[in-house]
């Protein structure tokens, strides 16, 4: 790959690429995200390759593996360009038909089309799928289109133009000013103004400054950073380059979770490409600006998402936070001024520089500009990644884009912001969500995890689950977090096992408020949020566990029992065959019975019964 040594050369290259005649008749794109891979993408890709080769139509039909399309529920996802025919859940057997009818003849195959779960209608084109067309995809704009490991594919879509504009037309101060005016806030969770952070770092004395991309996406339930790193790594690198130019850093580090092997791979490939093209390293685009990036794989500790803990981890120590100030912008990595931003934050930067802060400010609400990517998961029909302007309501996200709750169940709550966040009940479905509105109701934006819960979710159990998580992940440095979360967990475990005492709820609230006030870092300061928010909105559920020893949602093991309703049981034997404990007895065609002493309450009988004869009591 030849070096690009000036703005002109970049322009020439882009022009040449965009004039390149598309000789292929159609392009078949396959989503190459982790979700689709889990659903069998590799086999489907090979089948396409094989079919194209066998028919000798490689000159007519191009095959392309793109980044994550975001509609993970429906994988493996195939989109045929230029018409954008959309086929979800493609299997190997579907491949010959897609090649023959769609790729060669441009015909849509009805049987393979997506069926909208809300209207029941078939949808042929990607842009008509409600999951996509109700989103506003800016940060994600290229994810489903480009081959993440092809530099030219990015350049032809205005890639590295923002860098060129910053280097050639703007001073570092002007770049910071532009980002400040855009009102971009950090997408990692806390929502600190990005431009201000850059300015603090720039003004900190010191010649050696560091720029870190925080890709330690530890929040259970959030996966947008993974998807961006896998699907648009060049955009992250470009965002980091602009930031480095603005603050005056020469060295950058991407701190990425080891649990994301595909992201690590794609980032390493693109870093090498950028280096070869002169977009990283010395004298970038022929200017005086030099910057390079290395990748550091995390070793599995949730607390390392916290800035000071992340730095400790980079320095080869236990990932424990330290008191601030000094803030990393004053004294961070190896004692030097260090600016840390989240992956999604960096992905916003090229958009702001290229289109200008005024354009950016037109999206979202006052004080909360731009879009936010939410990871929609849990009890919702369309799970996946959803990008919407700030200020969109939960109802729009969960019901319009997400297609609502599967089955005939009722929406109960949305858990927002991971273990640091809170549960948002149904009464706030129409609240426009942004950093500030969520804080007011006891949740947080966090990194954008959005887990939908229905009536079969026990809120006390959810609170216990999160407390168990933060207790496990607490680094143990400060007492309020180390001991406080342990005490909370003990009380919650008592409640969910039928041993709760009157007064436990008030004790939890008291303890929670103390932990919030007294903990050293963000992990402890937010750890009680799931407990406090569920008590705030679902107190009767706690009371039922304590006073009546009942779990209204039918979740808590010790408080429930499975029983077979003899009226409904047809004696089909299905549950008997599937019970791993041999705990179900009964003659064929006679009502069966569960032997309570053998039952481990795994719930398999409840799942397999076709007559709803297995009831939870």
């Amino acid at each position: 790959m030849s070096r690009i040594d000036s703005l002109q050369e970049l322009d020439v290259r882009r022009q040449r690429l965009s004039q390149r005649k598309e000789d292929a008749l159609r392009t078949i794109t396959l989503c190459g995200g982790t979700g689709c891979i889990a659903l069998g993408l590799a086999q489907v890709y090979t089948a396409f390759e094989h079919e194209i080769q066998q028919r000798g139509i490689g000159d007519k039909i191009r095959l392309k593996r793109t980044g994550c399309h975001g509609f993970c529920e429906q994988g493996p996802v195939v989109v045929v360009l230029p018409e954008r025919f959309f086929y979800p859940g493609v299997q190997v057997d579907d491949v010959p038909a897609i090649i023959e009818q769609t790729a060669l003849q441009g015909k849509v195959i009805d049987d393979l089309c997506y069926t909208d779960p809300v209207s029941g209608c078939k949808v042929a084109y990607e842009h008509d799928v409600p999951f996509y067309n109700l989103q506003e995809r800016l940060v994600f704009r290229h994810n489903g289109e480009l081959d993440p490991t092809d530099l030219d594919d990015y350049i032809v879509r205005d890639g590295y133009s923002a860098l060129a504009k910053a280097l050639c037309e703007m001073s570092p101060k002007e770049v910071i000013e532009e980002v400040k005016l855009s009102e971009l806030r950090g997408r990692g969770g806390a929502g600190f103004p990005t431009g201000l952070k850059w300015e603090l770092c720039r003004k900190s004395p010191g010649d050696e400054k560091y720029l870190i991309c925080n890709a330690d996406e530890g929040d259970p339930g959030a996966f947008m950073d993974r998807s961006l790193l896998e699907g648009s790594p060049h955009a992250i690198i470009e965002g980091m380059l602009v930031a480095a130019y603005a603050i005056g850093a020469r060295e950058g580090i991407i701190y990425v979770r080891a649990e994301y092997p595909l992201a690590v791979r794609n980032v390493n490939i693109t870093l090498q490409q950028a280096r070869e093209a002169g977009l990283l390293g010395a004298n970038i685009l022929g200017s005086q600006f030099s910057f390079d990036i290395s990748v550091h794989e995390g070793a599995g500790a949730f607390v390392c998402g916290e800035e000071t803990a992340l730095i400790a981890s980079l320095e080869g120590m236990r990932g424990m936070p330290r008191p601030r100030p000094p803030f990393p912008t004053q004294s961070g990595y190896k004692g030097n001024p260090t600016n840390i931003n989240n992956v999604e934050t960096f992905a916003n930067i090229p958009l702001i520089i290229l289109n200008g802060q005024q354009w950016y400010r037109a999206i979202g609400t006052e004080g909360n500009r731009g879009t936010k990517i939410f990871a929609l998961a849990g009890k919702v029909r369309n799970t996946g990644l959803v990008e919407v302007p700030m200020g969109t309501t939960l109802r729009q996200i969960i019901f319009d884009i997400g297609g609502g709750i599967p089955g005939d169940r009722e929406f109960k709550a949305a858990q927002m912001g991971g273990p640091s966040g809170g549960c948002v009940p149904a009464q706030y479905l129409d609240l426009p969500i942004d950093y500030d509105s969520l804080k007011e109701i006891g949740a947080i934006m966090g990194s954008g995890g959005l887990i939908v819960m229905d009536e079969a979710t026990c809120m006390v159990d959810v609170a216990r689950f999160f407390t168990d998580f933060v207790q496990e992940e607490s680094c143990g440095k400060c007492t309020p977090c180390r001991v406080g979360t342990k005490l909370m967990l003990e009380t919650l475990t008592d409640i969910t096992t039928g041993n709760g005492q009157p007064g436990d709820i008030d004790r939890l609230v008291q303890l929670g408020q103390m932990i919030k006030k007294a903990s050293l870092c963000g992990l402890g300061q937010t750890a009680p949020n799931p407990v406090l928010s569920t008590i705030r909105y679902f107190r009767p559920e706690y009371e039922a566990h304590i006073r009546e020893h009942k779990c209204p949602a039918g979740v808590c093991h010790e408080l429930i029992a499975y029983r077979i309703d003899p009226e409904l049981c047809t004696g089909c034997h299905l549950c008997v065959r599937n019970c791993p404990q041999n705990a179900i007895a009964g003659e064929p065609k006679q009502p069966h019975e569960i032997m309570a002493d053998r039952c481990v309450k795994c719930g398999i009988c409840h799942d397999v019964c076709k007559f709803s004869a297995v009831v939870i009591e």
């Binding site: 982790t34 996406e217 259970p220 320095e315 080869g316 998961a377 009890k379």
Partner: protein
């Protein structure tokens, strides 16, 4: 099953000292800032972090063994016991949890007769749980080695285990 475990140990970890030396020579370690990288690489070569490896690293980069052990025990990724032939990682993230992830974990535990972070006696499976594997849309999720199995329930999970057992049976 037993045979395969023996095979592995015969062809597996070459002398540990050698592995540590190679890693440190390749990565060019001078300070402790890359300690985590060294540990990751040594673990990848040896399969786990035996005490001899930690001692060798301590001698070579001149960091007290206590400090190294502090780092090893802090991060979930490091283990000081050998792993089984297949590593099962069950996700205990929120999205998996609300869709019944705990039931999958319980079923796997009951089937294999092990707890988290333990290895079956025949060295076939090691069970781990992870905070989140980042494929929440497919929860509950179970990853065996590097293969993702999505939308698990207790029944499907047991079937997956059976598949691996039969493959090597």
């Amino acid at each position: 099953m037993k045979k395969s475990a023996n095979d592995q140990s015969a062809s597996g970890p070459a002398p540990i000292q050698e592995a540590v030396k190679t890693v440190i020579d390749t990565l060019g370690i001078s300070s402790e800032s890359n300690l985590i990288g060294v540990l990751q690489e040594v673990q990848a070569r040896c399969g786990y972090l035996p005490p001899e490896a930690l001692e060798a690293i301590s001698r070579r980069i001149k960091i007290p063994l206590s400090r190294i052990y502090g780092v090893v025990s802090f991060y979930a990724q490091f283990y000081t016991e050998p792993h089984g032939r297949h590593t099962i990682r069950c996700c205990r993230g929120t999205a998996c949890y609300v869709r019944g992830g705990q039931r999958v974990i319980d079923a796997v535990k009951a089937e294999l007769g092990v707890e988290e972070e333990q290895t079956t006696e025949d060295m076939m499976f090691t069970l781990q749980t992870v905070a989140c594997l980042g494929a929440c849309a497919l929860g509950p999720l179970m990853v065996v080695d590097s293969t993702y199995h999505g939308n698990m329930d207790p029944r499907k999970a047991l079937r997956v285990l059976q598949m691996y057992q039969e493959d090597s049976g």
